[in-house]
Symmetry: C2
Amino acid sequence: MEQRTIRPRIADVAREAGVSKTAVSFAFNSPDRLAPETAVRIRDVAEQLGYTPHPVARMLTQRRTQTIGVLTPQALSVIFSNPFFGAFSEGVAGAAEESGYGLYFISPLRGSLARAMSRATVDGVVAIGLSDDHPEVEQIRRAGVPIVLVDSTALPEHGSVEIDDVGGARAAAEHVTGLGHRDVLVIGVEPPVPSLAMDPDGVTSRRLRGYREGFAAVGMTIPDERVVVGPASIEGGIAALNRAWEDGLRPTVVLAMSDAMAIGAMRALRDLRLTIPGDVSVVGFDDIDLAPHVDPPLTTVHQPIRRKGAEAVRLLLTVVQRRDQANPEHRRLETRLIVRDSTGPVPAPRHEEVAGANH
Amino acid sequence: MEQRTIRPRIADVAREAGVSKTAVSFAFNSPDRLAPETAVRIRDVAEQLGYTPHPVARMLTQRRTQTIGVLTPQALSVIFSNPFFGAFSEGVAGAAEESGYGLYFISPLRGSLARAMSRATVDGVVAIGLSDDHPEVEQIRRAGVPIVLVDSTALPEHGSVEIDDVGGARAAAEHVTGLGHRDVLVIGVEPPVPSLAMDPDGVTSRRLRGYREGFAAVGMTIPDERVVVGPASIEGGIAALNRAWEDGLRPTVVLAMSDAMAIGAMRALRDLRLTIPGDVSVVGFDDIDLAPHVDPPLTTVHQPIRRKGAEAVRLLLTVVQRRDQANPEHRRLETRLIVRDSTGPVPAPRHEEVAGANH
DNA sequence: TATCTTCACTAAACCGGTTTGCTAAACCGG
DNA sequence: CCGGTTTAGCAAACCGGTTTAGTGAAGATA
């Protein structure tokens, strides 16, 4: 019946209080420029009218939005299915809130990240997993907003936060080779856009390099056929492991690049009537909160997820607030292997070994 | 050295292309009002200048932001520590993306949710767990933006999505009473703001009602001393259980109102050298993705988390897009008990029973 | 008493777009 | 060849605020 109440504008308050728009603006933003009683009166009128400054108009004149964006090259609905991202967001949100910034999530709009970016009203962006071979990276950068990259170092002119992927992965590999394992399956995370070749600077490549270094130390290589990728979720892990299994791979250890995938892999292995770590050992990556609580408690590479998010925001805010793009900071956080119960010594060769598999 | 490049404005494009601002605007928004070749020329110039319409200015004139907000009464950094919220966000994000809407997270700004709200540039809000006894709820509603409530029915003039909390909780209680349990500990989720009394319409109250109904069926009551609350996280569960234990409670079953808390409780119980479900049974609530994978697989009340988020967005968008506040829709989604391995028959009375505890 | 400040407030320009109302030229049928 | 319609594009108003550059009166200074 009654149409939505039109929100009062600054002019309404001005008229009602018998002052100019300027005075109303002052009453809110610099009350000291008004006689105290005038300021109070104006704010009373505003309160009573239910007036509140229109945030969009305010953004326009102040030329800033007090908002930072979190840019993800994949749909949020897939990103959020990885528990890692929840923890990362926790770090981002904590640092943003602390500085009074709002949080806006930017993900591809009708297939285009650049389009989503141009729609976004943010003062700066934390981009997670945006590799420099992303087809739209140039357009995104041309938007001219400050960017901090997480998990991709490729663009040195922007600040960045990364972790020691290679070191962490190597430690994982050394751990399992030390247990006698030689037959490995690597489960990697799918790059957001199917590039022609695998981005050599992406997380997957870096961690793979670490795994290979670890195996190289005992004179082993990890052939490409032993590497399978999928989305970083439980489902992705299940699918990846089953695919490998159907391809005839019979690893004694699975190195997964995300805990969610590791958990999925464990599920799939169990469904194949295998025990962990009796028949197959599994190592994850991330050390999400739940890693110690799954069955069995997951051996994994710990990374400081929350801190990664928080640091990224702090880096971003220094350039946003100082308008100072010069010599951006690159920060690398440490990783470390956490040995729990999903890894154990290589099992004695099984009788019913499948012909032709893994030598 | 070089200051940040000033982004080109519509007037720059107009001048460069030798047309009016109007023409440029048309070239982007209604190209059919221009001669085809003119439209193309203008867009070429724009492209070459790196022009992209200023999103804030556009919002101002179009009087809409193409963004929806997710309102949480607690800090995002605490909200995100509950895996439930990741899944919920997944649902929200999926539905929002599908309709071309951006996602903005609104959480208290310097202690005030209303302040955060007035800063937020959104066309509508999905409010999760906003009870009507929240001190700022009136101010928030006065902002006049469409709101859909999730997990709180208290404001019938807004659309809402809820679940059958009572039924789910009752089923959980019936399950454990059926196993012979009588000594219960309820672990509830802390309301966002410490109200004077417990909000009778909050999730915690509703689920507690369900538990009580289940126990009432076997002639038992759950006294208030058997109910302890805390933040809905693993840590919160650990703390809650330990607190109860120190208070001398020795339950044979723990009913937790969130899986995260249930997992925390299991951890704490193990650290007390108790087995699950041998010594103590545990039931969760939510059925997060990881619930089947923890040790032991968690018996819990399933709720359609993603769908809850998606439905809320869809409800919101119908009122946002139709500008139609009339007879808002209230949707209730089903819950169901999923029995896994964290519950079992009540154990035979232990020898070393602590004097004075639980009869 | 004349001039200089300070104080309290305002009119107008501006932020960067979109939209409305209009005009001049091209087109069209009779 | 003339009046009527369409087409292509423009000037100006507008969205809802903030900020700049004053203005007039009161108080301070010489």
